[in-house]
Symmetry: C2
Subunit: 319 residues, 2 copies
């Protein structure tokens, strides 16, 4: 089978920092995501020509840098070429299908789409897990070195980043019918600013409680115990700090649970807030939760939009 | 059904602090354990008479205090009576079937056996999970407030202590055929001394890695991925410190893995060291691992004994 000369790849956005899964747990969500068109350019190139060229970006409102070396799609593409030892020249077009700075892994979706696209152009030498390192390299350039958005964008579903050195990515099954509601208010947070507000050190006692909750959360996803999922989702180190930076955050999370969600927390650095719902209780539950969350944001002065997604969305894929 | 007047209850020992499950993960093991005989004494008592009386202890070499208020069996028995609001008078006999200070939850086995015994004398008003709080109260008096030994001693199998306030105990399934090898050298460590050597604070970055490993370990038990289990078991905060206090510890853990174990770590505060083995590869694997671990302890100057146990041993039970 010969590799294609051009591919169009979509990668979904994702919720990350799922409760006590700071920098460790992420889940792909349906709806928002980025599309990368990648083309292999035949022939060699002169020394002053770039190996990866970013022809253009649409849908970002002009916010993102137009050079490949400063864009996560371009960096991830170059990293995959380097992994493969390939001398190929690649042109990229990036179509942003999601807003920037909402806590849904916008930069990661670009990186995941580009990494998967270049992998396809090379004849797919790498597994999705093997591409995580290249996408993390891209994330590190813009929002910190973490893999909890690029991993679900690449692999789909719920993913645990056990380690980045080297990458060790664990797929976690989700209970049948689990739905995720994501509500995004109409203001923007800079990830670096939100990250800077976190403590440098934590007491060992807090680590014990934290890791027990992370483990309980993964056990709940495995066993389908949504009551346990709700108890374990309650994070006490990062979320309280970030909630202070998001007007209405506490009320939105409380409204989600009051409306029937199993649990709710902040996605990434925010301001998006997600909630898990038991879809087996009927489609109305997720809708009611979404409306309650939007209403709580409105009461805090922010217009908001919602996504209702299954918890087992596929990752980066040719479209 | 009337409650019995006398019961004899056995509770197994347990490995705890399983890799990155410090104060959170414990597993019951076959072999060592404590037996409590509990009797309900009819009639009232005068004000100067104790509600729980410890008639005697056998098998401890005279090391344990002979008063009920200072022994974990006595404290747990009193706590269960208090939970039930019972005025009953109880006599206890304690038969220690395991050494003290080996890292296998000796004080916890006494507490679990007594808690279950008194529960039976009262007509079993409480579930095993509900008794954890009473047993933890007893543990707190002698070795610190943690539930990762009393919980498996009470419930059996592999248990995650998500929280102690209030107790939230999660049973974790284990893969079919999983075996645990426990090797105990012939010297003793005081739990309080070993605990005092730990850092008070850890970097947030370390918490992220730690909790991701705890979650990966639980995922591995759920999915039966023993390679992942081995990678996740590698703890980097507590185990390296405690390994320094146990002559030969690093060599014993390395010997276990070299002999075919999926992973190895220190049980509790040590000096016992455990290893997980895939029993589906035949009974010889666990034996070979045990011999290799004993050999490594011997090379470090310590005689050692071994236990080979399934990973799904039942908890406290009438015998």
């Amino acid at each position: 089978m010969s590799a294609p000369v051009q591919v169009r790849v979509f990668a979904p956005g994702s919720i990350s920092n799922i409760g006590p899964g700071f920098d460790a747990l992420g889940m792909a969500v349906a709806g928002p995501g980025d599309t990368v068109v990648a083309r292999r350019i035949p022939g060699g190139r002169t020394e002053d020509q770039r190996q990866v060229r970013l022809l253009g970006i649409e849908g970002d409102g002009g916010k993102l840098p137009r050079v490949a070396e400063k864009n996560t799609a371009g960096i991830a593409a170059a990293a995959v070429l380097a992994m493969a030892g390939s001398d190929a020249t690649i042109e990229l077009e990036l179509y942003k299908g999601m807003a920037i700075g909402t806590g849904l892994g916008s930069s990661a979706a670009s990186a995941a789409a580009a990494a998967w696209a270049v992998n396809l152009l090379l004849g797919a030498p790498f597994t999705r897990e093997q591409l995580v390192g290249a996408a993390v390299q891209a994330e590190a350039a813009v929002s910190g070195r973490h893999g909890d958005n690029v991993s679900p964008s690449l692999l789909g579903g719920l993913v645990l980043v056990r380690s980045l050195d080297p990458p060790d990515i664990v797929r976690i099954p989700v209970p049948a019918g689990l739905m995720v509601v994501v509500v995004t208010p109409s203001f923007e947070l800079a990830t670096r600013a939100a990250r800077a507000a976190l403590p440098r050190d934590v007491p060992l006692r807090a680590l014990v409680r934290y890791s027990a909750n992370t483990a309980a959360l993964v056990a709940a996803f495995h066993s389908g115990d949504l009551a346990l999922l709700g108890r374990a989702l309650n994070e006490q180190i990062v979320v309280p700090i970030r909630a202070e930076l998001i007007p209405g955050a506490r009320q939105v999370m409380a409204a989600a649970v009051a409306a029937g969600a199993a649990g709710s927390s902040i996605s990434g650095a925010g301001p998006s807030i997600f909630a898990f719902c038991d879809g087996r209780r009927g489609p109305g539950v997720a809708s009611a939760v979404a409306l309650a969350m939007i209403g709580a944001f409105r009461a805090a002065g922010a217009a908001a939009t919602s996504i209702i997604s299954p918890a087992d969305v596929p990752g980066a894929r040719e479209v």
